[in-house]
Amino acid sequence: MSPEPSFEEARAELERIVGELESGRADLEDAVRLWERGEELYRLCVAKLDAAEGKIEELGRRAEAVRPDA
């Protein structure tokens, strides 16, 4: 198993796949395989966007930030 690609890698691969399909060089079997991979990458990218969680931290002050309120 290859490690899960980063957002950039996934998006770049998606773009490459679309380019490949656009060129029309892919045969039928390849096209279906590429489409499946493309859909997978699309879902991965969107999931990464959805999973992102805004957080502002201060270096050297995290110890205080995570300490439960007394």
């Binding site: 950039e8 998006r11 096209a31 279906v32 493309g38 992102a52």
Partner: protein, 390 residues
């Protein structure tokens, strides 16, 4: 030499008079002086003396208004390392501590560092550094790295001024609220700022998942921004393991760290636009790619279907074609057969003569009076032979 510890100074008694030796006196005064803090003193350089063989460089610092004088000494190696073009008449800041040169009983300022005042000197120093670092390749275009599209975590290095940090965070929130920012505050001004900035940058980069660092400092005077042209800061930026965006000062300022950074922004807000993607744009791009993915795949499938249909059509037509070809061949044979039949000869005006015993090929076969049958192209004649000629 350690003046920092209190020195016990022994006096001798002459009657009821306490008397100190010169050496003891100087040592005592020296130890008192050594307890004073390290400070900055401003003045004009006079009587600058430097020689290669000497341990120290000497100069007299003259008050700019009333001409009061202060002897200054500085370790020659420290002085040389600063690579300053200091000359008599220059205004300088000297950072040092008061000291007594005990062997001669001379009070002086022992300098740890000195900085020429005025734009000219600072500019000259920056220019020299810029040239040296450029020759080293620190500012080369091929060193510049691309900024990440979607940083997992952004390091923001800034002074404790509220504005730069606030501007950056507001711009980030507007474009992509779900981004993570780790803020590191550091000294950005003064003689200790360069070391502090370089150290903070290294510390920030050691944090997990930091994909890009933004160096943000609001506008300030030329002097205020000097730490960002300090060699330590410039080298730290160049050595940073992740891309660095420099947003220091205003548009017209170009501190050296800008040249070493991977990208430069004129304001903290502009820096935010560089490091954080626009979420709506990002999602729209993804949807566009997905639509193209579906469209192109359908096109290829459709093309496949069409070529399949053509194949099927050819397949169903094939037997009929075969029959037709066979029929044509049969027709050709029939034609040739027809050409061989006597009927065609009769058409041309010939006739077939038969008697009861068969086709007549010579006159002798039918004696006068014999009944003959003459077959023509159309119809036949019943006749009798009148005469035979042989």
């Amino acid at each position: 030499m350690s003046y920092s510890r209190a020195v016990k100074v022994e006096a001798t008694l002459h009657g009821d008079r306490k008397v100190y030796s010169v050496s003891a006196f100087n040592r005592g005064i020296g130890s008192w002086l050594a307890r004073l803090p390290t400070i900055w003193v401003e003045g004009e350089v006079t009587e600058l003396r430097r020689q290669d063989g000497w341990q120290s460089v000497f100069l007299t610092l003259k008050d700019l208004e009333d001409g009061s004088c202060l002897p200054v000494s500085m370790p020659r190696t420290t002085f040389d390392a600063l690579r300053l073009d200091v000359a008599d008449g220059d205004r300088i800041h000297v950072y040092g501590r008061p000291e007594l040169y005990e062997a001669r009983g001379v009070f002086q300022l022992r300098a740890l560092s000195l900085e020429p005042l005025g734009l000219g000197a600072a500019l000259a120093r920056i220019e020299r550094l810029k040239k040296a670092l450029a020759e080293e390749g620190l500012f080369a275009a091929e060193r510049k790295r691309a900024l990440p599209l979607l940083p997992r975590r952004i390091g923001l290095l800034t002074g404790n001024e509220a504005a730069a940090k606030r501007d950056f965070l507001i711009a980030v929130a507007a474009r992509f609220p779900a981004v993570r920012v780790l803020v590191a505050e550091t000294l950005v001004q003064g003689v200790r700022a360069p070391g502090a900035i370089a150290a903070a940058l290294e510390e920030l980069c050691r944090e997990p998942e930091i994909d890009v660092v933004v160096l943000a400092r609001g506008g300030g005077s030329f002097e205020d921004l000097l730490p960002f042209s300090d060699e330590r800061v410039v080298r730290a930026v160049a050595a940073c393991p992740v891309p660095v965006v420099s947003a220091v000062g205003h548009e017209q300022d170009t501190p050296l760290c800008d040249l070493a950074a991977d990208a430069r922004a004129s304001t903290p807000t502009a820096a935010a636009r560089l490091v954080v993607p626009d979420e709506r744009q990002l999602r729209a791009d993804l949807d566009r790619l997905r639509a193209a993915l579906g469209r192109d795949t359908r096109r290829i499938l459709e093309r496949g279907r069409q070529s399949l249909a053509t194949d099927a059509q050819r397949l169903t037509r094939a037997p009929a074609l075969l029959l037709e070809r066979k029929r044509a061949r049969v027709d050709a044979l029939a034609g040739r057969l027809r050409a061989l039949s006597p009927r065609a000869t009769l058409e041309r005006g010939y006739a077939i003569v038969r008697t009861e015993s068969g086709i007549v090929r010579s006159a002798g076969a039918a004696a006068p009076g014999t009944r003959i049958d003459v077959e023509l192209a159309e119809g036949a004649l019943a006749a009798r032979v009148e005469e035979t000629r042989e």
